[in-house]
Structures are given as structure tokens and as C-alpha cells.
Symmetry: C2
Subunit: 405 residues, 2 copies
């Protein structure tokens, strides 16, 4: 057996009992001969508690100090897991992000990994240790602690798997794997045994919370098989890999939905070259992700420009685009935070005619209005009123027979 | 104004409000032009909480992992203090032990500082930052986190003051300074304005909790003036420095007492060379501090050997010395955990005849029995029944007129 990198999220290390539970699982696999690197998140609500402490001190903490503070949560859980492993006779050592050689760019709170110096990791593995790495963190060139932002520990795990040339990366979480839809919305949702990187990337980007898109991207780029499985049972989980053969066989794979969506419309935009850039460049500079950009067909050289962002960004977006809208002579800017997003994802779906039409017809039959449509090679997304989202998810799941493999 | 190193203990950073309070004090001094390095302990009970977490995971944690875990407490408080300072317009940066360049030996849980590389500290000071350093921790040559053990943050502060050639080191705590006796035992105890290193070292070693002896030793060696003062008021505190002139003037300075004392007696030891070494070497190897060693005069080549240790060490000590006692032909080993220690401390006291006699007479007058006597150049210590300790402290304080300066 080769090297495997396993990641356990906050719920999986949420108590001493759970830490002992996963320690036994790790020790079993180690005993069977596998080399293991374990990445852990902070215990349960630790990160939120630390954020609350910081908020009590100041509403505007320096990002460097906030990262320094938040990084301690993962240090605690990694030390405790290493103790638990040693306690049951499984040699283990905990490493902070910098001890694990994780070098990042200098952007606090959402640092990107630049490279991983695996010297210490390799040494500890060669000594027979299970290496427990504090997730979500690294160090920049100035020797300051950085955190990786949302999905940080997933990203740490897959990046370590890539740097160490691991056989696989296993993401242990509180669900059994990747489902055809959110099981709390669709009762008959089915766990997928296997899904391709590209489909998983769209699923993760369009609302499936089980794995962060950054982690999927790294896995795809470095061709690391990723398994998503439950830390509370031994079920097989979902394998995410190249899966080329599946593209032909399966068209629609899963439905993702996301309620954290706001729709922004700039009304009466003069339809001339460079306008879109003048609006979206400042948003990109402010680090705001925009998706589902739609520009209506121009009538008399005047058009409406609509796009969606996460709800927490609405205030900042409006502040940035209002002066620009004025400058380019648009009529007004309107925001709407009561929308949601439903996406049907499937490799090769758009190459097969009729999928989009079938989706729209199904929604029409249920009396659900579509406000925006956006598509990629393997995804069709509809923006709807937020209260219609669960119905739309169920309609798609049924219409495309996702419950049957 | 030059550079000053200030240390705040766990009570002083025990809540967000207190952190904000000391931030204002620091900002005031910084504004007045002083360069400042601030050393902080973990907030309130954090270290105990982390120890309890570790204890729930295992009763026998690897020392390396325990240090890794415990070091996070000081990281949290230093980040929060740096945030609070920046929030009120006082530029500040937090540094972990390793970022502050604190290199220690590899002995976990009671590491000694080997050297401090002040490059980063100097850079941050030159940028106009108040530098907040996480106390109690450093890093060994293998890049692993070590903790300094008891009195660790005091030690960090005085060592940084020495390495940075600071004008002074100020230890802010929850009392006003160093007293002639514990004010909770002696109502008329008086705060000392000034005390010499040597006297302070004896006071700290013989029960005064206000400052750790390790910190005093470093201050003495590098001639760093240390001020102990309250973090909750602006009273002047106590200056600890060379104070040579005082030796002549003042004989008895203060009374220290300690209830964490156990007495061990090896009965019927053959009085021949090498016996003491055969007993005390194994204890030293086990890292157990022994004081007040007394060997009674030999009668017919047989003697009793008595010494004191901290109460938590009794079990281990008995386990170590019982086989040795048997081997050297001693009759038995006896332990007694109901004793306490009272010490009168004063520079040059032993050079002045009559001090010891006056002490013993005063105790006799009160009907207090002395079980052991031990002396140094500037200290006379009596071991008594523990319930007699408070009385003895009061008797000495009165007898030597310590309430009057």
C-alpha cells in the first residue's frame, strides 16, 4: 500500500470522543501498512469562537493578526489527534502549516499555496510516523502565518497529496459521499459511486458543500483520485477522478442548488464595446466572484446587464458599480436577494441536444418561472425565486431519473 | 526613552475588556516615545483548559505534542492584544516564540532558552511596531515548538530584555509589587520599593509567587532592572536590581513561605563517603528539585538523611530512593507531607551574628517547633508543621520590624 492523505473536517474532530474514534480508524490502516498524512480542521465551532473573540476586540482586525489567531484552532486539533494516536500505540507527530513546508502567497485570509517543501514530511514518514498536519494554514515568505480561506483544509489535503505524489486523497466528512442532490431536499437522492473532476468542480461551485472547488481543481490538475466518505461509518464513499468513460454513458449526473445568491441588474446600459469590462474589472479587483452574467439582446443600442454574486457581497458590489453605472449613462442599478440557483450537471450534457429544453419544460409544467439562465459545457443553471428552489431541485431529480444509477 | 519589555500574566489578559485596558496603557507609553516589546501569557484558564483536553485524550501525552498544544494559548492572547493595539491606532504585530527568534534546548515542557536571534524583533521595532510576543515558548533546532515550563512567560520577558539590551523589564501582574510577606497572611506587610537580585532570587525560590526565580536569575546575570507592578493601577511597583548599597543598610528584608513542601527522611544511613551522591544523583537525573538537605551528626557511623521536595514529587521520589536505601543498608524511608517552609531573607544577614538565634527564640516563645533548619548566605529557612506556618510568618515579620521601611 502506498501513501494516502486523509482529511477530517471540524465535525469529525468535534470532541475528544470523535478524535479517539478517528484515531482508531487511522491506526488500523497504518497497521495494515499504509503511509498516512492526516489533515485536520479546527474542532467544531472553534474557528467561530475565535472570530467572535476577535470581533469583541475590534470590528476591523488586521488580516495578519486574524490569520495568526485563527491558525491556532487547527494546531489544537492536530496536537490532540497526534496524542490520541500515540496513546493507542500508533506513532504520530503533529505539524503546523509552516512545519509541513506549506509556502503561500502573502494574501492573508485567502492565501494560495505556492509550493510545498516536503522534506520534513518525508522525514517523518520515513521514521514511521503518521503525520498530522494542521489544515487551512501556511506561511508566507516573510515567515508569517497565513490562512487559506474557505475550503482551506480540503485544499491543504489535496495539495499535500499532490506534493507527496500520494495514491489518493480521502476527504472524511459528516455525509456518506457526493449525492445526486441534497438528500435533505430530495428524499430519493442517490449517493454517486464515482464522478469526474469536471462535474465535481461544477457541483462544488454551484452549491454542493461536500468538497470545496479549490480542492477539486488541484486534484484535477495533478490527477489525484479524491474519495469523499463518512468519518462515522465504513461505507465506500464517492470516488472523484478522471472518469473519462463516464462522459459517454451518463448525461445528467446531479443537481446542485445554492440559496446564497443575489441578483444585480444594471438597467439601460448603452451597448458599446468595453462596457462589460468597465463594470467587472473593478469587481474582480475587489476580490468579488461574479457568476451567471447575462446581457439581454440590445434594443436601440440599450441593454440590461444582470449577474449574480453571493449575498454577503451585495453591499460592496452596489457601492462599486453605482458610480460606474452613472458614468456610463445607465438608468439605474437594482439588487434582489430573494433568488436562488439550481444547476443540472452532467459531463457531455450540452453536446446532447434537448437537455435544456427538457429542463425548461419541466419547470414550466410546475409553474416555476426562470429569471436567468447560464450554461457551461457540462452545466445548465437557472436562477429562480428562492422559495421555488426546493421544488425545482425535486423536479429535475425526477425528470432526469437521477435516483436510478 | 529607550526600549522596555513588559510582561502581562494570565489574569491581566484574562478577558477582552482587560486586553483593551492594557492596550490603552501600552499605547500611551508608545505615544510618549518608548519602544516596547510586550510578552503575554495565555488568557486566564486557557492553559488549564488545554491540559484538561489533553488529559481527556490520554493520560500520557507525548511531551512534544503537549508543548505544541499548550503553545497555542499564548498565540491567541498575543494576536488579540496586537488587534486591540492596532484598533486604537497603535501599530503592533504579534510574534510566536519562533518568529521572535527564541531558540531553546530540545527538552519539552521545561525548555531552556539557548539564544535569541533578534533580527525580526529589531526589524519590527524599527518599523515603529509594538511587538507582542507569545510568552512561555520557543523553538528547538529541529523547528519544533517547546514550552519553557513554570515561570515561562516571566523568563521570556527578561530574556528578551537581555537580548535586546532593553533599559528595563516590567512584569505586570495582579499585585502591586514585592511585599515583605504575603499580605493575605500578614496584614501589615509592606510593599518594597526596591530589592536586590539575590534577595529576590531567594524570595522567589522560597515561596513568593510574584516572579519566577528563573526570570530573576537571567535579570541578575545580564543586569536587567526588573520592575514588578500591578496591571490594574499606576502604583510604582517594586524595582529589582543590583542594589549593592542596600546590603549594608538593611539586614532582614522579607519573609517567604511555602506550603508545597514534603519532608523525606532516610533513617539509619551508614555514614560513609559517596552515600549522599548515590541518593541525590538519581533524583537529579529524574529532574526533581531537592532543597533543605540535612544530615544529622553521625552516632556510631549511622546517620539520618532528611530533605524536602515539592509535594507532587513525593511518589516518584519514594519509588526512586527506596531500592537505593535498601541497597546501602538504611533502615527505612519516611515521607511527611504536612510540613511547610518559612524563610527570612535579607542581604548580608548571615554576616551579622544573632539573626538565626533571634528567629529560633521567637518561634520558641510562640511554642512553635522547628523540624529542620537550612541556610544560605542571605536566607534562614525553618521547616515547621504546616498549620504553624502562618503564625511563624507573622512572628518573623513582627520580630524583625519588616513593616517599617
Amino acid at each position: 500500500m502506498g501513501l494516502s492523505v486523509w482529511k477530517f473536517g471540524g465535525t469529525s474532530v468535534g470532541s475528544v470522543e470523535r478524535i479517539k474514534l478517528i484515531a482508531r480508524r487511522i491506526a488500523r490502516e497504518r497497521k495494515a501498512g499504509r503511509e498516512l498524512v492526516i489533515v485536520v480542521s479546527a474542532m467544531g465551532d472553534t474557528t467561530d469562537d475565535l472570530l467572535e473573540l476577535a470581533r469583541q476586540v475590534t470590528t476591523n482586525p488586521k488580516p495578519r493578526e486574524l490569520d495568526f489567531l485563527l491558525s491556532t484552532g487547527e494546531l489544537v486539533s492536530s496536537a490532540l489527534l497526534a496524542m490520541a494516536l500515540n496513546d493507542i500505540g500508533c506513532r504520530a507527530i503533529s505539524l503546523s502549516g509552516y512545519q509541513a513546508g506549506i509556502l503561500t502567497d502573502p494574501i492573508y485570509s485567502r492565501a494560495r499555496i505556492l509550493k510545498i517543501d516536503t522534506k520534513r514530511l518525508r522525514e517523518e514518514l520515513d521514521r514511521g510516523n503518521v503525520v498530522v498536519v494542521a489544515g487551512f494554514q501556511g506561511m508566507n515568505e516573510g515567515m508569517d502565518v497565513t490562512t487559506l480561506g474557505r475550503g482551506g483544509s480540503d485544499t491543504t489535503a489535496v495539495a499535500l497529496a499532490a506534493a507527496l505524489n500520494a495514491e489518493e486523497c480521502r476527504i472524511y466528512t459528516d455525509v456518506d459521499g457526493v449525492y445526486t442532490a441534497d438528500p435533505s431536499v430530495v428524499l430519493e437522492a442517490r449517493k454517486l459511486d464515482r464522478i469526474g473532476y469536471e462535474e465535481m468542480l461544477e457541483l462544488a461551485s454551484y452549491g454542493a458543500k461536500v468538497l470545496h472547488p479549490r480542492a477539486v481543481e488541484i486534484g484535477w490538475w495533478f490527477k489525484i483520485p479524491i474519495v469523499v466518505a463518512s468519518s462515522f461509518n465504513d461505507n465506500a464513499g464517492t470516488l472523484i477522478d478522471g472518469g473519462e468513460s463516464m462522459e459517454v454513458r451518463r448525461k445528467a449526473t446531479a443537481v446542485a442548488h445554492d440559496l446564497n445568491v443575489a441578483k444585480i441588474t444594471i438597467v439601460g446600459v448603452p451597448d458599446r464595446p468595453g462596457i462589460a469590462a468597465s463594470i467587472f474589472e473593478p469587481l474582480a479587483d475587489a476580490g468579488i466572484s461574479v457568476d451567471c452574467i447575462v446581457q439581454n439582446a440590445s434594443i436601440d443600442g440599450i441593454t440590461d446587464l444582470t449577474f449574480t454574486v453571493s449575498r454577503e457581497n451585495v453591499g460592496e458590489v452596489m457601492k462599486i458599480i453605482q458610480p460606474i453605472a452613472k458614468e456610463i449613462g445607465a438608468a439605474k442599478c437594482v439588487s434582489d436577494t430573494h433568488v436562488g440557483k439550481v444547476s443540472l450537471i452532467g459531463a457531455g450534457m450540452l453536446n446532447t441536444p434537448g437537455y435544456a429544453a427538457k429542463m425548461f419544460k419541466a419547470l414550466a409544467r410546475e409553474g416555476i418561472n426562470i429569471e436567468l439562465i447560464s450554461t457551461s459545457e457540462i452545466r445548465i443553471t437557472c436562477i429562480l425565486r428562492e422559495d421555488k428552489v426546493p421544488d425545482a431541485v425535486r423536479v429535475f431529480h425526477r425528470e432526469f431519473e437521477l435516483a436510478s444509477a
